[in-house]
Symmetry: D2
Subunit: 152 residues, 4 copies
């Protein structure tokens, strides 16, 4: 485990089974002297990878078999983030479809003690060889249900 995992550190992260903690690095800042808006999505990506590793949906490299591909991302920016700071990024699955699922993220800033951004993504399960979507495997559904503590 390389990320400190916390639960309930901030109420906005309550209910998130995966929360990763990342310090802002200075180079995350842009010319506005706050964290560039694309960095939030790199943080979410790391939380997503951590989540997918835990439910057995992270591929080996070189890529083989099936694995995730991102189809859509969206992010609402609430508050600018400065340096130094540390952010906590939650990841949870909110819906499982046939060949895809929705993942939700909340980013909390320690310095602000507040939600800095919220993001959503749609992740498709792909057969990397055939380059086409395949159904979410039953064992992945089960692992997600186990992590989230509820049925889908």
């Amino acid at each position: 485990m390389n990320f400190s995992i916390m639960s309930g550190c901030h109420e906005a992260l309550r209910g998130y089974p995966v929360v990763v903690r990342v310090p802002v690095i200075w180079g995350d800042l842009d010319a506005f002297n706050h964290v560039n808006n694309t960095v939030h999505l790199r943080w979410c990506e790391t939380a997503r990878v951590e989540y997918l590793m835990r439910v057995g949906l992270w591929p080996a490299f070189p890529l083989a078999g099936i694995g995730p591909i991102i189809a859509n991302l969206s992010c609402d920016y609430r508050r600018p983030i400065h340096f130094p700071d540390t952010v906590h990024i939650g990841a949870r699955v909110t819906r499982i479809g046939n060949t895809s699922f929705q993942m939700e993220h909340t980013i909390v800033s320690e310095a602000l003690n507040a939600v800095a951004a919220e993001a959503d993504s749609t992740i498709v399960v792909l057969d990397y060889q055939a380059k086409r979507p395949v159904p979410v495997p039953p064992e992945v559904r089960k692992a997600i249900a186990g992590l989230e503590g509820r049925e889908f």
Copy 2:
């Protein structure tokens, strides 16, 4: 002018008043050996800055007066992008509200000769000192209308 400006190079970019052209750099790739999904948003950012400069809504640095802040971003990923390639990124305003406006982007890959991604964003006009939204200035509305060739 540092970006080659084209209009209509690919039909998906027809109607875009601002199109910037950026080569994929090798470091844009991630472990999947395709361009990381956050890079698309850095490209859109550059097209957005180019657009905002042209309509007089780009601030001087150090920041003063009023200027843009991004409130929301969303991106649909259609096709993975590889190296080497060059992408064309269109930027256009689709709606002007009171204190904000919507900007739309299409990313076309030269190698694929196809749309690789589409993005939307909400940009708020902020008074940097007061840290609060202000109405889109009339001269900016007029400049946008001039660039888009239509009234809003």
Copy 3:
């Protein structure tokens, strides 16, 4: 304090007055599936900023007065770094000249329990207005000597 500060966690970091701890994020990987070599320099940058803040040589933004500018960087790569991992980056001053000083970095990987890279940099003290080097201020020299526990 946003970075965990450790001393002596790995013998290669012994003697470093500033050590910052940063998790590898997934997007740090490139197509070789290891951390891209430019990321090491972003990590060093953060350790450098932390160091400069402590010795009173970090400017306010918007930039005013005097502050650091990097004149030279060099890095020796010893071992590739993978995800997940956490790295510890040490920063220390090894020499103070008239208008510049040398900073040295060691990057230790927790997963490897070994030195992954070593870097050197030359930092010049600049008058941002005049855009010209100025002598390292006596109070900065003193703060560096205090932090390093020796005279220069």
Copy 4:
């Protein structure tokens, strides 16, 4: 060919057999409102990849056989680069050893019409399976000599 290849566009690039041209993107800027120093090294990386592709030393992915790995990088920063601008990055081999070679880079800014940075790197030829250096293959030496127009 995705990069415009020029020769002699600026006298500092004379003699460079590979020159790539990349626009500064807005996100390359850091809080100092100039291009962050790690971006220069990403540019050099792209020039290096272009060079290595031309001399047949760029691997297929997933990695197999032999290919390059970077052992050392160093960069001298001469002038800050701003946005918008376009840079030209030269790559040339200056020395070939047994299992490694030296590559040199010059970065010229169009806006400044001047050298902005110079970099050096040591590239080792690695057997990716065995994870150990192997001699620079004769056909690669020959291709480098052909590109550089001189014997090594």
